[in-house]
Symmetry: C2
Subunit: 483 residues, 2 copies
Amino acid sequence: MAAQGVTPRSEDYSRWYTDVVQMADLADYAPVRGCMIIKPYGYELWESIKSALDLRFKATGHKNAYFPLFIPMSFIQKEAEHVEGFAPELAVVTHGGGKELEEPLVVRPTSETIIGHAFSDWIQSYRDLPMLINQWANVVRWEKRPRLFLRTTEFLWQEGHTAHATEQEARAETLQMLDVYADVAVNEAAIPVIKGLKSPQEKFAGATESYAIEAMMGNTWALQSGTSHFLGQNFAKAFDIQYLDEDNEQRYAWTTSWGVSTRMVGGVIMAHGDDKGLRLPPRLAPIQVVITPIWKTDEDKETVFAFADKVKAMLEDAGIRLHLDARDGLSPGFKFNDWEMRGVPVRLEIGPRDVQGQSVMSARRDVPGRDGKQVLPVGGLELAIAELLENIQSSMLDAATKFRDERLHECATYDDLKEIVGNGWGLMWHCGTSECEDKIKEETKATSRCFPLDENSEWNPQGATCAVCGKPAFGKAYFSRAY
Amino acid sequence: MAAQGVTPRSEDYSRWYTDVVQMADLADYAPVRGCMIIKPYGYELWESIKSALDLRFKATGHKNAYFPLFIPMSFIQKEAEHVEGFAPELAVVTHGGGKELEEPLVVRPTSETIIGHAFSDWIQSYRDLPMLINQWANVVRWEKRPRLFLRTTEFLWQEGHTAHATEQEARAETLQMLDVYADVAVNEAAIPVIKGLKSPQEKFAGATESYAIEAMMGNTWALQSGTSHFLGQNFAKAFDIQYLDEDNEQRYAWTTSWGVSTRMVGGVIMAHGDDKGLRLPPRLAPIQVVITPIWKTDEDKETVFAFADKVKAMLEDAGIRLHLDARDGLSPGFKFNDWEMRGVPVRLEIGPRDVQGQSVMSARRDVPGRDGKQVLPVGGLELAIAELLENIQSSMLDAATKFRDERLHECATYDDLKEIVGNGWGLMWHCGTSECEDKIKEETKATSRCFPLDENSEWNPQGATCAVCGKPAFGKAYFSRAY
């Protein structure tokens, strides 16, 4: 019920973020170190993202399943790079049912190993391929510096796991799912993203190649918002995922995995939020329209509520997600601030004069002040609101794209990059080695985000050299501060 | 792709069950002791149950949220009865991020404690009440004798947690959610259930009173399919959930919790399955209608598939969940068995003669042989199928109800009970003490299922005595073998 303001972004972006998450009732820290409680409003937002993804997974032929939370320690150890990458982050169950376990169980940090084990059982022949599975689950990766939604010891996500007969198919799947993620980010979350290949240092532990969508937050930092991994035959060999091909030969399958997590909620907050709080894109907003009735006398109250109820029923019938703020004892101004804080895209004010005029006063969350207000007649209101919501959705995407594009810089030299780090992303020729990445990170705090697919027509192009070490470049990579 | 038969129920009911679960591709044991892998077909069934429940939770004003998987050991210990009940079943994380933890973390067996902690923070005033929260989550209770869906170390469920200003409200909530569970069981799963009060011995550890819905399986055993607990002020006192009432007095809240789990999938299997395999009620069936095209020549194949595609599009447009079995190289008979095993309510056979007659041959899964078959003209087929599915849904409920009602017995004496145990449930006057329950269990293997609400107009009725010990009876209770 808090309607006090958040810390201004310009003053302390990090505190602004935490203020918004807590004051908009999205989530809070849990009494367990590194963990969070996702409150109803934040969970509804996650459910919107979930539905948008799940629909697309099913449309591309994937099926949901569920695999165990616990993974035998020996499984994790089967893929050498995988165990090396995840060992420092594991939570380990050593006791169960009152006894010490013979083999410790790892709380899944990701499920390539246990699903790889299942696939080796499920896949016998080329007829069983492709195997297209997704899992909605919680995972645990021990986190020393937790941040709500962005980095928590436990988080919610989906992890897709697929197996294919050929390398080509598995590569196509990896890129298809990257496209699905970009589609959801752009068209549902109104967040423009750059699709690219991660450097060897930044890739998933155990992958041959990792791809990601990278989004720019309000402070210009990057947020990796979804990843899609081509796993080659690494896990197929570690878990013996073999199939009999059409010529009766035993072959290893090619696998992929891909995931989006509750981190994306953090992305929505930071890509769109302002000093008044959250701003939610209409397609994901748990509440798209809030009605705030305004009255002074009891007589007015009755008329106003009767009209507000009519408007409510009309809009709900049209499938609009709506809340009528009937709270007593709070001023309209308090309520306006409160719903602005919560990022509701459209506010409808209904007072006695609106009832007389058979109209409502609408206010856009994304356009402050008078410019965002207009009187809408109640006749045809459902169409006007639907159009307004679509308009807000595309305006938000346009604004975020403009903000981002103005902060993308081509950097011909490493000095160019140094100059812009912290105020945007730099696109620079890069060799792809961890030596250069470590040096850049140490000197500028920027990390390599990705080799954007749109900016690299070929890898290892003739004559191109790394802006840092001068050796042959793998391609152009974006560098930026990142979460 | 297995179409071999399951073990007949009469031969070995327990093996029949496992055969159905595995051969219908619902689930399988995981490489982790006590855990299971829910396969896509089983998960879709769970998703149907989930949607049916979630819709009703939201309609009764509850909101979803998410709380941490890990609970500090000290939390579990705060409610004396709670820790005593759950201690033997806990999985404990002792190491995280490469270090031994200062306080071990319990993998949640249920979330009254951590949610109680959150409620004490969220609830300050009577204005914050009622607090109506639900969580969809995985939980872990160490299981020595696992059975797929029925008892597994990890399982999926929902747990509702609510807090109220008065005892009366909390009691009403407890019974409302019991009704919601009964509604889903009866009207979605086509399983008749008996609503009743659990005995003190069988109640939830920490509850004041537990209620359950009890269903009869195909071997007459009972399955507790959902529970709703009135927690009194037990957790409110343990976690200091207090609110300021309208008179400015600090008061403890009254809380409830209630849950349904993947166990209900087991209930669907055992309430309806037969010797051909699974039988799914249409409202929950992932596939409601399967089309099996029948052809011999290539020419026939083309005509048959063109027609089958038309029928498919027509039915899918009407919102019917449908699968067209286009597999090559398998005989129609094999496919029939295969889909019968998977419990699909309606099969449509389409051969060259059906194309000529512009009709399809439908076969009901719940009515074997010729009696279940009829020719349906393609004109208006979507309506005919919708009606047929409704018909199957109600027939399945009728059949399960008839089966159950024939096996419910009034037992005037303990000897009466002994006679019928294993072939039905006995309703008998019962004092409610664990002494009598232990004796009955030892001598007959039957446990007290519940004191049915419909059969007890008052508790401790004048003059009624326990059929076992002769002391005053608390009420009439059902006794039965149970899962």
